[in-house]
């Protein structure tokens, strides 16, 4: 296996399977990531809110849940989602893609709730004290004073979470959901050119995550400037 043959094989694979990689694989990976990050953010916000509940039981349950999700492997969670979600809602005839999405969203939600929590904690306590000393309620203080400042910590971290998710969705290929990593499995199965397929898929992942990281970085700098 020389460098030249690998290169030629890559060209051949791209010519024949470019749509499998670039159209199907990339679009499914991006769709899965976008679903995960959007719903994960919503779930994460909800969890973060519940962790501030004045009911100790709710705080305990949510914290335990978040710690549990963060303390078990994602692949395990995907398996659980794959088997459990269709069982929970048999009437909906939930497919693999949806089941896996649910598992990804739950996983991401746990991480996002941590992002939001630490983003809020990073805001100087003096800000809250000043707002409360003026007579603002807890809710007003959160909405008008703390959150607008926390957002500057939270948004870049969410962007990074998006980058992480793009990579982590590759685990979903275990269930053949059609993502970029599944493209690798398909092309390798058809051509037996495992190494070349991996290089192509790896390059695509890298371009996706690298450009997104740069975008997040630029965004972060702009947020910092407007401080």
């Amino acid at each position: 296996m020389t460098f030249t043959t690998v290169f030629q094989n890559i060209i051949k694979l791209l010519a024949k399977y470019w749509d499998v990689f670039l159209v199907k694989g990339v679009s499914v990976t991006l769709a899965l990531s976008a679903i995960t990050v959007v719903f994960g953010a919503v779930l994460g916000a909800l969890l973060a809110l519940m962790r501030r509940s004045h009911l100790g039981v709710i705080r305990f349950l949510v914290t335990a849940f978040v710690e549990f999700i963060r303390g078990t492997p994602m692949l395990l969670q995907l398996y659980v989602g794959y088997f459990i979600v269709p069982l929970l809602f048999p009437a909906l005839e939930i497919g693999t893609f949806a089941s896996i999405s649910v598992a990804l969203v739950i996983n991401s939600g746990a991480y996002v709730s941590e992002i939001i929590r630490s983003g809020i904690q990073a805001v100087d306590i003096g800000q809250t004290e000043a707002a409360r000393s003026l007579g603002l309620t807890k809710g007003m203080t959160m909405r008008k004073v703390v959150l607008p400042q926390a957002v500057k910590n939270i948004l870049p971290a969410l962007g990074n979470e998006f980058v992480t998710i793009i990579k982590e969705t590759s685990l979903a290929s275990t269930f053949f959901v059609g993502d970029l990593m599944t493209s690798y499995l398909i092309v390798k199965g058809a051509t037996y050119l495992a190494f070349e397929s991996l290089i192509i898929v790896g390059a695509i992942y890298f371009v996706l995550t690298f450009s997104l990281s740069k975008l997040v970085g630029a965004f972060e700098r702009r947020l910092k400037q407007s401080d």
Partner: protein, 245 residues
Amino acid sequence: MTDTVLIETRNLTKSFGGLQVLKGVDIQVHQGEAIAVIGPSGGGKSTFLRCLNLLETPDSGDVIFEGQKINQKGTDVDKYRQKMGMVFQHFNVFPHMTVQQNITLAPVLLKKQTKAEADAKALYLLERIGLLDKKDEYPRKLSGGQKQRLAIVRALAMEPDVMLFDEPTSALDPEMVGEVLSVIRALVEAGMTTVIVTHEMGFAREVSDRILFMADGVIVEQAAPADLLDHPQQPRTQEFLSKVL
């Protein structure tokens, strides 16, 4: 100063973990009175001040504001805080709002003033402290002294009945102390009831009606400025003053 008691504390205690920071503090603040609180660091001055507007919840004892005990379940603390302005050592101005928005936020949100009234009031207050030209700037463009003056008028915009200051000049460069003190002096002269924790002995002597010396969680001694500063009765007070004067 009138005879009306505006704030009163009775046997106020507060611990953090195992450390008892307030060991029974009783004071009366009269309407229009200016009280300076002095004492060694760690003596409980901040904790005491923060108990007055319940930023700290006392473990026991009463905080009575305008005749109402306010440290009990069911009290709408926010309502009372609207009448008690507080100024912090580290300014705590809102960095994501312009100077003017810093001032109008609370009065508008709490429906004390309409947006138009609050804006007019903010401009008037900024004019008085010489920051009118900064109204659309963000606080990061202000010096420490300017930030603290902003923090003072932000509290004043709520038209409070009393102003609480916690070492308002301690975080300032020396050349900016004067501009902040003169704003406070003007307030006192206008009759605002004031409790100010300070290390500026000269200022305490000059503007206050009464000085409290606080150490180890109790008010060791209190008297008119000249009496307390020039003829301290308690050994603890004498020791402290000999170090700082």
